[in-house]
């Protein structure tokens, strides 16, 4: 709908469209020789900015006619750096909701839009969901501009491009696709922009929406997109040739394409000695398999394949299990479930009830269950080892994926012992190999094997040997600069 050319009419229309919402503020300045009005939403705009700069400049409009029209004269006399124009009510409302102020004059079908945003965020604070020991501690916030800034200030390269797109019929959420132009192949960016344009949804409230809608082509519990609130991880990924999607109003950005090995990495991997990091990564890999397989293996060995267990252990386990009323599988599932309940409760409970839950979890469920003869101690050990192992991962999505596959493994082992376990394992590998994101198979660099990319996968070689980007992400493999040469200078 086009804007009317009369101030009163415009004010009236705005109020009608928005049902006279209480936060709409309209003001009309009537002077001897001119009339000018402005409108803003006080809930998202900064009163100070409006009074200090806008109001003052509108009242003291220079009478000299330097411009052809009064509209131009108003537009060029406002003390504000970010001035736009709009000519429809739809645009006007988008700007109003974003915290802009609209200035309207008579006899013009355009409106002036100036930025008077109130910053409605908590500022850059330390990341709470992804804590590290060494390295930058800032994290993305709900403020889109700040998020872009956090990336921009780290990579001061003109090739760092941001491409915006608005997603969501009602929310009109700003989604920025960020990439380094000379590293990332253009078709990947186009593919993402295309996917984003195809999204037809009423609102995007978090990057989780985008991620679900992008990933939907292949159903899998394993995450194909890394979700992080750490700007340093986003920048590392950008420099490696990945694409970062930033979504307005959420601190979590999306990094894609992701491969399985990305999830055993941690942002601080870049800030510590390569040898230590390689060790940590190997530990995490072992944990991955422990978390995935232990309960299933335990069930398979305990109920089908006793001959594999050494006799000493066999006897010790048999004695522990004596008098436990449930079958091993039920016993394990019961305790796995108990742990999941505890974890779920822990995430959502306020911190003051944490200690009460520790008592319930550790003392009552663990000790008392054994004493009451409901579970055998070794099951508690198995479930505890599993649960601790899954918590070493940095990304919550991989934990969820491991958790779901673990149940499948348990079922396989319950019904068919070690054979069922192996069948599920084959399905597991087949499923993982079939996944891909933006043309990158999920198991790269192992399958397909890429020797050069192995340098930064399960292990990380020292930085002077890491002059190349992962080959599966980009053809422009050579990193700029040479760490060894710099050392010599």
């Amino acid at each position: 709908m086009k804007i009317d050319n009369n101030i009163d009419k415009i004010f009236e229309t705005i109020n009608t469209i928005n049902g006279k919402s209480s936060d709409i503020v309209t003001r009309l300045i009537e002077k001897k020789n001119y009339r000018v009005g402005y409108v803003f939403l006080e809930s998202v705009s900064s009163d100070d900015k409006i009074s200090d700069f806008l109001n003052k400049s509108l009242i003291n409009l220079d009478r000299k006619r330097l411009f052809d029209t009064f509209f131009e004269q108003v537009k060029n006399n406002i003390y504000n750096s970010n001035i736009k124009t709009c000519d429809t009510y739809e645009d006007m409302f988008y700007y109003l909701s974003s915290g802009f102020t609209i200035i309207v004059v008579d006899n013009s079908t355009k409106a002036i839009v100036i930025e008077t945003r109130e910053s409605l965020d908590r500022g850059v604070v330390e990341s709470t969901s992804e804590t590290i020991i060494r390295g930058p501690k800032d994290s993305f916030t709900e403020n889109h501009n700040k998020n872009l800034g956090l990336i921009r200030k780290r990579i001061k390269d003109p090739n760092l491009w941001f491409e915006d797109i608005k997603v969501g019929v009602r929310s009109k959420t700003k989604v920025t696709v960020s990439f380094i132009k000379d590293i990332v192949p253009r078709w990947k960016v186009d593919k993402i922009l295309d996917d984003l344009r195809k999204i037809n949804i009423d609102a995007i409230l978090d990057s989780g929406y985008i991620r679900e809608l992008i990933e939907k082509s292949q159903k899998s519990v394993f995450p194909k997109v890394i979700s992080t609130e750490r700007p340093d991880l986003a920048c590392t990924s950008l420099l490696n040739g990945k694409i970062v999607i930033l979504v307005e109003n959420t601190p979590f950005v999306l990094i894609l394409p992701a491969v399985l090995t990305d999830f055993i990495h941690s942002p601080e991997d870049n800030y510590q000695k390569s040898f230590n990091i390689s060790f940590s990564r190997i530990v995490r890999t072992i944990c991955f398999f422990i978390a995935l397989l232990t309960p299933a293996l335990y069930i398979a060995l305990m109920t089908y394949n006793h001959e594999i267990i050494p006799d000493q252990l066999l006897i010790s386990v048999a004695i522990q299990r004596d008098g436990v009323p449930f079958p091993t599988a039920i016993e394990v599932l019961l305790f796995v479930l108990t742990f999941e309940v505890l974890r779920e409760a822990d995430i959502h409970s306020p911190s003051f009830s944490g200690s009460a839950m520790n008592v319930v979890g550790a003392l009552i469920l663990g000790d008392a269950a054994v004493a009451a003869g409901i579970v055998s101690p070794i099951v508690i050990i198995v479930v505890a080892a599993t649960s601790i192992s899954e918590l070493v991962f940095y990304d919550v999505d991989i934990i969820d994926a491991v958790r779901e596959w673990r149940i499948l493994f348990i079922l396989g082992a319950t019904f068919m012992g070690i054979i069922g376990f192996m069948i599920i394992f084959i399905i597991f590998i087949a499923k993982l190999s079939s996944l891909e994101c933006l043309g990158t198979p999920y198991l790269t660099p192992f399958s397909p094997l890429s020797i050069r990319s192995l340098k930064d996968s399960l292990i990380r070689v020292s930085r002077k040997n890491l002059k190349n980007r992962p080959t599966y992400l980009t053809k422009n493999v050579k990193r700029m600069g040479d760490p060894i040469e710099e050392n010599n200078n």
């Binding site: 089908y304 050494p310 004695i319 299990r321 019904f415």
Partner: protein, 389 residues
């Protein structure tokens, strides 16, 4: 997929539905076999629950016309199914061993759930079942005591050579080699060894001791060996890691401890006569000296070296004579001839046990006595020297 689920829970068995058998003993009672099993996962009495991993043991005995019948009869006593899969020791009584191990070996070869790596021992001067009943303070259950003892002593004592079922089987299946199996015996009153007091007292009233080898003719026990003969057998069979030799010297003695001990057997046929050369190599050091002996004297060292070599030779000869006497080829000489001189062996195969007596046995022992590491003189000698000043 449907097929997979249809097989549902095949072979499914909870671990605590089993009685885990860790040792089996076979005795003879009149004309019947008496089979005893040692069950090790009986839970402890309830007053000390929580002490998991520790167990009480139960020994069940039943008899039957066949071994399997006796074994199955135990199922009538035991509240849980017997799990034979992981037992570690099979003790056979002397009378059964003298009758022949064939049906014993046959049973465990056919019994699919039994593993083949358990150890075999012959009970000497006692019923086989008694060896399973002796509880000891150092291990949780008697079968573990026996198998651990066999394992550790094989490395450290020259006279012991553990025999696993697999080894026994491969020996029995081949011509020209006969088994030699360790004996075990109960020292003290076996009935006292069954009770808990045996664990609680610091000096067990009754314990199990690994004894010398029993030599077999095919699958039948024919004779017991002495310490020297066991040593001789193990020297030739190269089963020795460490052993000691006590050498009498003047009015005292010197004990040498061997390391890097190695032996090999060479066969040859000369004039249609079998000839065997046993080469023994190794190093030894003096570990105990008694008497007025000056170890700085290099001639004396040579003399001691000769003495130990002679001792080794005499051990081997003793063992060989015993073997010839019992017509039992415990050294596997026949097998060696079969491997190296198959044509010759074919001609003597049928009466190999007699031909064995004609073997021209030539033992070369080359044990080197190293003196660098130990104190040169005995303390007594040093003492005497000081007196002179």
């Amino acid at each position: 997929m449907i097929l997979l689920t249809l097989s549902g829970c095949w072979n499914y068995k909870e671990l605590n539905d089993y009685s885990i058998v860790t040792g089996i003993a076979i005795d003879k009672k009149d004309d019947k076999y008496e089979v005893s099993v040692l069950i090790s996962n009986a839970p402890k009495s309830s007053d000390d629950n929580g002490d998991s991993g520790q167990s009480q043991i139960v020994v069940y005995t039943e008899d039957g016309d066949s071994l399997f019948e006796a074994l199955k009869n135990i199922g009538l006593i035991s509240p849980k199914e017997l799990y034979i899969g992981s037992f570690t020791v099979l003790v056979v009584s002397e009378d059964i061993a003298r009758e022949g191990l064939e049906n014993v070996v046959d049973l465990f070869l056919r019994y699919t759930s039994a593993r083949n790596n358990f150890y075999i021992a012959i009970a000497k001067d006692t019923k086989a079942v008694n060896t399973l009943k002796i509880v000891t303070p150092l291990t949780s259950f008697p079968s573990q005591n026996i198998s651990d003892n066999l394992k550790s002593t094989t490395d450290l004592q020259g006279t012991i050579a553990k025999t696993s079922f697999n080894e026994l089987l491969s020996i029995l299946l081949r011509d020209g080699i006969d088994p030699a199996i360790n004996s075990i015996s109960v020292v003290g009153d076996p009935e006292k060894g069954e009770s808990k007091e045996n664990i609680e007292s610091s000096e067990p009233k009754s314990y199990i001791k690994i004894g010398n080898l029993a030599i077999f003719k095919n699958d039948k026990l024919v004779d017991w060996t002495t310490h020297d003969e066991s040593l001789g057998i193990n020297i030739v069979n190269n089963m020795i890691n460490e052993m000691y030799l006590t050498l009498n010297y003047k009015n005292g003695y010197v004990v040498v401890d061997t390391t890097k001990f190695n032996s090999n057997v060479k066969t040859s046929v000369e004039n249609n006569k079998p000839k065997i050369e046993v080469n023994v190599e190794g190093e030894a050091r003096i570990i105990e000296v008694r008497g007025n002996i000056n170890l700085e004297d290099s001639k004396l060292i040579e003399e001691l070296q000769d003495k130990s070599n002679k001792k080794i030779k005499s051990h081997v000869e003793k063992a060989f004579n015993l073997a010839v006497k019992n017509k039992s080829d415990i050294f596997g000489f026949g097998l060696k001839f079969y491997q190296n001189h198959p044509k010759y062996f074919k001609t003597v195969k049928d009466n190999w046990e007699d031909v064995m007596g004609e073997i021209d046995l030539n033992i070369k022992s080359n044990l080197i006595l190293k003196t660098k590491v130990s104190s040169k003189n005995s303390l007594e000698e040093i003492h005497n020297e000081k007196k002179d000043y």
